[in-house]
């Protein structure tokens, strides 16, 4: 297949040894790249029961066949490991320009193994890969660390870095690039920290050879104009994800006060109009024709963002309607290397714990001063930060309030209230890495679309199809903001790789990817009982707004989940059947 470099850089950090090896092209044919291929490698190489923060865990940086090409919206990198937050498989995706540079340096992937003897960073320039001392970088914020690396290696060098949160093994630590792009979830930054690895820096001069350049440029350029830069997708350019604030508010699913409600009276201070007013620039990932990034400024605070998830979790969910405060909070999280979804979620939980008299962390809904101190404390695990760094599940286990810890498998809910969009509940519960909005985004069809949000009818089928769609997209790799059809995706993949792919082939690759992720989790002891939601979703009705009085009745949830297993060819205990595994070649 074309458009692969056919090479993996394997780096043993403990032995200070880096070697290129051939990419397993049989696996590439079955899983393409990105999410799928990364999970396949991890499944084969990391044995069951491996402590995520031990040196036996691995960190895999994986590109796909679209990376480094002109396929629109193909700038993302997949990072795969076992999650310290959940113990599940973990694949994150990060934007920016690193992925393209990795491909231009002549690699499809980097596999990081072992643990460096002391703080180090990996420098890769084409065939040269060296482990360099990071003594002076350790302890620095991600932004300053990236500045130092650029000063040292030139402005064209691209870097993945961790902040203090990753160094301190906080299970909501992320990996950052170009200040504001994050591989956010599941504590992927803590895995990097556990390896004493502050950064990976890359410069590539080799490029990626193409066989039929004229035809590729001609056809893909038509597709970009006719299918990418269209009404379906241009919201990403005109507004980006803040557009979703009002979609959620008007449908009653905007997380408010730790998911006690789906209706936030202050939404107009954090909506797309407010972000447009604060916007001073736009920025895209490499190869992205849309360019969703909003560079915003309010007072002394700047950030690229805040994205919808941050506005929801760190805004409405914490009762904060002050955009300047959210921008400052966002910027602090990015620099410290923290995932805004998990931090916003656990902060709101702590606020509710005080409200309910469970424990007082000095945090209150809407109180800006105490709120702004949270990221700094979590990153170094000081004071209340030591508790909040446990995550929502760990915090509630320690102090009580497990019913209101809004998480699945230890990963905190993102910004969609499942009581107002029942399929989203099923998507959270069955996602491979805990409560995640990127494995399937059925709100578009349901709360924001034409389907009735308050019925279980047909929802399992919807979630299954969307999970396959996203899994194959994240394996090529494409950004989820381009809503292309599988037919178009098949055409592009055929054009780029020179191997014929049909829509059915892609569905099968998506299904295979979902199943190997499931097998990884089954091997780690996860079963059907883990595919559930916090009690609050089943028991407590939302209070105000369009979804007032709504909950997700447990019987309806159980019905969706049962149907989901049947459609998946999984047993009642949630394990894939032998027949299904055979069918998928697993």
């Amino acid at each position: 297949m074309h458009s692969y470099q056919g090479r993996v850089l394997r780096v043993n950090l403990g032995e200070n040894n880096a070697q290129a090896e051939p990419l397993n092209m049989d696996w590439a044919a079955q899983y393409l790249g990105g999410k799928g291929l990364g999970i396949k490698y991890l499944y084969e190489e990391v044995p069951a029961g491996t402590d995520p923060l031990s040196e036996r865990n691995k960190l895999i940086l994986m590109t796909g066949p679209f990376t480094g090409t002109v396929v629109p919206c193909s700038g993302k990198l997949a990072i795969i490991s076992r999650s310290p937050a959940t113990g599940t498989i973990l694949d994150c995706s990060i934007g920016g320009h690193f992925a393209g540079e990795l491909k231009f340096a002549g690699y499809d992937a980097v596999i990081l193994e072992g643990k460096a003897a002391k703080p180090a960073y990996l420098y890769i320039e084409d065939d040269e890969a060296r482990l360099l001392d990071a003594g002076e970088l350790w302890g620095l914020g991600a932004h300053r660390a990236e500045d130092v690396l650029r000063e040292k290696h030139g402005p064209e060098a691209k870097a993945l870095v961790i902040g203090p949160a990753g160094e301190n093994l906080v299970p909501m630590a992320c990996i950052s690039s170009e200040y504001y792009r994050q591989a956010g979830r599941g504590g992927i930054g803590a895995v990097m920290g556990s390896k004493n690895l502050k950064a990976v820096v890359i410069k590539g001069a080799k490029g990626l050879r193409v066989t039929n350049a004229e035809r590729l440029l001609e056809r893909l350029q038509e597709i970009m104009h006719q299918d990418t830069l269209t009404e379906d997708n241009l919201w990403a350019y005109t507004d980006g994800t803040p557009m979703i604030v009002e979609l959620s508010q008007t449908t009653g699913i905007l997380p408010t006060h730790n998911f006690q409600d789906g209706n936030f009276p202050g939404f107009e201070s954090i909506n797309a109009d407010a972000i447009r007013e604060a916007r001073v620039g736009k920025r895209a990932c490499v190869s992205c024709a849309l360019g969703c990034g909003n560079f915003t400024r309010r007072g002394a605070s700047v950030v690229e963002g805040p994205e919808y998830e941050t506005l929801a979790l760190c805004g409405s969910n914490c009762g904060i309607a002050d955009l300047e405060a959210i921008i400052a909070f966002n910027k602090a999280c990015d620099d410290l290397g923290l995932d805004t979804i998990s931090v916003g979620n656990v902060t709101a939980l702590a606020m509710e714990m005080a409200e309910k008299g469970i424990h007082d962390f000095g945090l209150r809904f809407g109180d800006i001063q105490s709120y702004l101190e949270v990221p700094g404390k979590i990153a170094v695990r000081e004071g209340i930060g030591a508790d909040l760094a446990l995550g929502a599940k760990g915090l509630a286990r320690r102090y009580g309030g497990e019913d209101m810890a809004m998480q699945v498998k230890g990963l905190e809910f993102p910004g969609y209230e499942p009581r107002g969009s029942w399929s989203m509940g099923l998507a959270y519960a069955t996602s491979d890495r805990g409560a995640c909005h990127m494995r399937a985004w059925p709100v578009a069809n349901e709360a924001y679309g034409d389907l009735d949000p308050f019925t279980s009818e047909g929802k399992a089928q919807l979630v299954v199809e969307l999970q396959h769609y996203n899994a194959v997209k994240f394996s090529t790799i494409l950004c989820d903001f381009w809503a292309l059809s599988l037919d178009t995706l098949a055409e592009i993949l055929t054009l780029v790789t020179g191997k014929t792919f049909s829509t059915t082939d892609l569905e099968k690759i998506g299904e295979r990817t979902v199943n190997i992720a499931r097998l990884f989790n089954v091997r780690e002891g996860f079963t059907a009982k883990d595919d559930t939601l916090p009690e609050r979703v089943f028991k407590d009705a939302l209070k105000t707004g369009p979804t007032a009085g709504r909950l997700l009745p447990r019987a309806e949830y159980d019905k969706m989940l049962k149907e989901y297993y049947i459609l998946r060819g999984w047993q009642e205990d949630g394990k894939p059947t032998q027949e299904k595994m055979q069918e998928l070649g697993l």
Partner: protein, 79 residues
């Protein structure tokens, strides 16, 4: 025939249907429903997510009233 006046906002990329303007007051027949508004603005159904009337998502069959604030949202994918 009796007519009503409503205030329409087109969110994000949809403002091109108002030649770049964001908000307009629109006159509609008294018995108009939300779907009629889309037709009047030549806004194809597939170009929108949904219509909200007075801050709440509404069906396209919902009857419009004098003074209603209607907001139309573009389709989105992936949060």
């Amino acid at each position: 025939m009796e007519r009503i006046k409503i205030v329409v906002t087109l969110a994000g990329s949809l403002n091109k249907y108002f030649q770049g303007e964001k908000v307009r007051a629109i006159s509609m027949p008294a018995k108009a429903v939300a779907g009629d508004l889309l037709q009047q603005l030549s806004l194809p159904r597939e170009s929108i997510s949904f219509v909200a009337v007075n801050g709440v998502k509404a069906s396209l069959e919902q009857a419009l009233q004098e003074g209603d604030k209607v907001k139309v949202y573009p389709p989105v994918s992936g949060g």
